[in-house]
């Protein structure tokens, strides 16, 4: 997993609430057996017409947002299906950070497994960043994970919360499975005990 330390980039505004993972990556693209290559179909049905033409009004099709690395989104981003193809598609497009007032649980988890930082902020902070994002390339936002700050184009700084363990994994690009396997002895012990107490499992 690629490390996440500090990111300075263009933020795309997506104020719609309840952007679900079916919108982020529609089911016809879930047939892949790979993780890569999904960026071109990110937000496919919002981004392209039925015959594959770009819809000019869609935010990521606008010239100033084509290289966005951050999305500022409406409430409950990533709800619905557990498909990890959603963060894979975001990452493949180049998005490394999503900011919203709330995220759906599974999507939130999936982001951290892929080097994407989802940030939860109060409504007023999201509103402020949404305004910044509306200014496109004139409004580069800097996300500093180490110091847990977001710096806007006008120099104002917002601090954010992040789970310490997840922060550690993101900063160092750590693989969860490797970390868990360090606890293999504890898993062995649990299994031995469970075989006694719940042998039917």
């Amino acid at each position: 997993m690629e490390k996440f330390t500090k990111l300075s980039g263009i933020a795309a505004p997506m104020p719609l609430v309840n952007i679900d993972t079916d919108m982020i990556i529609p089911k016809q693209f879930l047939k892949t057996i790979q993780r890569s290559g999904l960026g071109k179909n990110l937000f496919d049905e919002m981004r392209y017409t039925q015959d594959g033409q770009e819809i000019p009004d869609f935010v990521l099709n606008k010239p100033q947002y084509r290289n966005a690395q951050i999305i500022v989104a409406g409430d409950n981003f990533g709800c619905g299906s557990s498909r990890e193809h959603a963060p894979w598609a975001l990452l493949d497009f180049g998005i490394r950070c999503v900011i919203s007032t709330s995220f759906a649980d599974i999507f939130f988890n999936n982001c951290f497994k892929n080097g994407i930082l989802p940030i939860v902020l109060p409504q007023e902070d999201v509103d402020k960043l949404m305004d910044d994002a509306q200014r496109g390339a004139n409004a580069v936002i800097t996300v500093d994970l180490e110091n847990q700050t977001i710096t806007g184009p006008d120099g104002g700084s917002i601090s954010f919360e992040v789970d310490p363990f997840r922060k550690h994994c993101l900063l160092n690009g750590l693989d969860d499975i490797g970390l868990t396997l360090e606890k293999a002895a504890a898993i062995d012990t649990f299994e031995t005990q469970a075989a006694q107490s719940r042998p039917w499992v």
């Binding site: 104020p15 719609l16 609430v17 309840n18 679900d20 079916d22 919108m23 529609p26 089911k27 016809q28 879930l30 047939k31 892949t32 057996i33 790979q34 993780r35 049905e45 039925q50 409406g74 409430d75 409950n76 709800c79 619905g80 299906s81 557990s82 498909r83 990890e84 963060p87 709330s102 995220f103 759906a104 649980d105 599974i106 988890n109 999936n110 497994k113 892929n114 789970d163 310490p164 363990f165 969860d176 499975i177 868990t180 396997l181 606890k183 293999a184 504890a186 898993i187 649990f190 299994e191 469970a194 719940r198 042998p199 039917w200 499992v201």
Partner: protein
């Protein structure tokens, strides 16, 4: 000391390790696997030379992609990409030695229907699957939730999951349900009440007389949609109905082990003095047969209501409602009962069980459909066989329904069962998102009886008018 909730008890029984900051390693008793969210996980194991730690606790079945038409055992029936994905699961199941129900097995079906049916899902277990509707298994008093593909790989390799504990939420449905009101109406009404993010950060326990009165099938329908309310999981304390459902199933414990299991299962309830972080109470008598009008499962109204206007909402929901109404092709103020439909889909992990088919057949008996297309997709090969034995299949066929083979089908439209742009569907599935059942397709969620009623009249219908 305060008592424990059911969730607390299951959590404690599966805790392998807890760090100071609360980051925990939770043991997983059952890992269910399907073809769409697993290929990258198995590939990860191959690349790192890892094995499946507990293949005997890992169960795989293809369901999302598989065609539901006859002759599907012939791979040529599938588009190339679907064929490759199902073939990958065939190979992964064989290579890693996990339990497998291929498409040719009568026990094949939707993973969340197969698990309980085969007795893999038992009270007090932790159950995960790379699918958000894993919450279904909570009906047995199991802690069950969806995970992403990286977590699928993590569970395959370690039989554990890194978790932080959720908060406890109680959803109580008091009293009795009125005639024509079902488990689907309960679960949709709860989401209508709490919103799609109302459960975020929580595990929900459903309780109360109306929940107790539900069959196991009904309880699975309720828990299935916990995720649609944002909750990590939904569960219901096991009782005599649960034990009776489980007993005798192929992978349920037997003999002395059954007795030992039963003794523990009977301790699985929330203590009277347990702490709840959030409580929602709804009177069973107040729940009506409902339908969704928009593109979020929280867009729920009684069938007797009218299409709302964007101004009826607040904040970001105003623009979302505008977008929904435009997508759904609806005008504020229009009676829901005047909405004409052209497709009916009965099936899915929400409502593809035998009781669902019985409820729909009851309405359809001796009637004909008044829609362009209607299909029943049983949740498993065994549900299908039972429905044929009970004569339900004949009722569906005579009414004009297509009688399909088991799979996820038009719930998410990954296989050829899809809506065309602008087509409007009465569906018993779980999501009415834009494009969910096919690009431009319009979905109204409802119970099987309500979907059957809509099939007969050609418009959204109050099932009580046909009873």
């Amino acid at each position: 000391m305060t008592g424990k909730t059911l969730y607390d008890k299951i959590w404690d029984a599966h805790l392998v390790h807890e760090a100071e900051d609360g980051t925990s390693l939770l043991y997983i008793d059952r890992h269910l696997v399907h073809e769409v969210t697993s290929p990258q996980a198995f590939e990860g194991l191959r690349m790192t030379g890892r094995k499946v730690r507990a293949p005997e606790k890992t169960i795989a079945v293809p369901d999302h992609n598989v065609p539901t038409t006859q002759g599907r055992e012939n791979p040529d029936q599938m588009p190339e990409e679907s064929r490759i994905q199902v073939a990958a699961l065939d190979k992964n199941a064989l290579d890693f030695g996990i339990h497998y129900y291929p498409v040719t097995d009568i026990r094949q079906g939707i993973v969340h229907i197969v698990g309980p049916e085969q007795g893999w899902t038992l009270p007090g277990m932790t159950v995960v699957c790379g699918d958000s509707h894993t919450a279904t298994h909570g009906a047995f008093g199991a802690l069950a939730h969806g995970i992403g593909t990286s977590e699928v790989e993590h569970v395959l390799a370690t039989q554990t999951l890194i978790q932080k504990k959720s908060k406890n939420m109680k959803v109580e449905i008091t009293g009795k349900l009125a005639p024509g009101v079902t488990a689907k109406d309960i679960t949709l009404s709860v989401i209508g009440h709490t919103g799609t993010a109302g459960g975020t950060g929580y595990v929900i326990e459903y309780c109360g007389e109306a929940i107790r009165d539900l069959s196991m099938e009904g309880r699975m329908t309720v828990c299935n949609m916990a995720i649609e309310g944002g909750a990590r999981a939904g569960l219901i304390a096991p009782d005599e109905k649960t034990f009776a459902y489980v007993q005798g199933r192929p992978h349920a414990p037997k003999g002395a082990q059954w007795e030992a299991a039963l003794a523990w299962w009977k301790t699985l309830y929330s203590d009277d003095d347990a702490h709840w972080d959030k409580v929602v109470t709804i009177r069973g008598e107040d729940i009506a047969p409902v339908v969704t009008w928009g593109t979020s499962p929280e867009d729920v109204l009684p069938i007797t209501a009218a299409v709302p206007a964007p101004e009826d909402f607040k904040g970001g929901k105003v623009d979302a409602a505008k977008r929904s109404l435009d997508y759904m092709g609806l005008t504020p103020g229009m009676a829901l009962k005047d909405i004409e439909i052209d497709t009916v889909f009965i099936g899915s992990c929400t409502n593809g069980r035998i009781e669902d088919l019985r409820a729909a057949a009851e309405i359809l008996k001796g009637k004909k459909i008044a829609v362009k297309r209607a299909m029943v997709v049983p949740g498993s090969g065994l549900v299908r066989a039972q429905a044929e034995e009970e004569g339900l299949a004949d009722i569906f066929r005579e009414a004009g329904f297509e009688w399909r083979l088991a799979g996820c089908s038009m719930c998410l439209a990954m296989n050829p069962d899809q809506l065309q742009p602008g087509e409007r569907c009465a569906a018993t599935s779980n999501r009415n998102f834009e494009g969910r059942q096919g690009r431009g397709g319009r979905t109204h969620l409802m119970s099987p009886a309500m979907a059957a009623a809509a099939a007969v009249t050609g418009r959204l219908t109050d099932v009580r008018d046909l009873m």
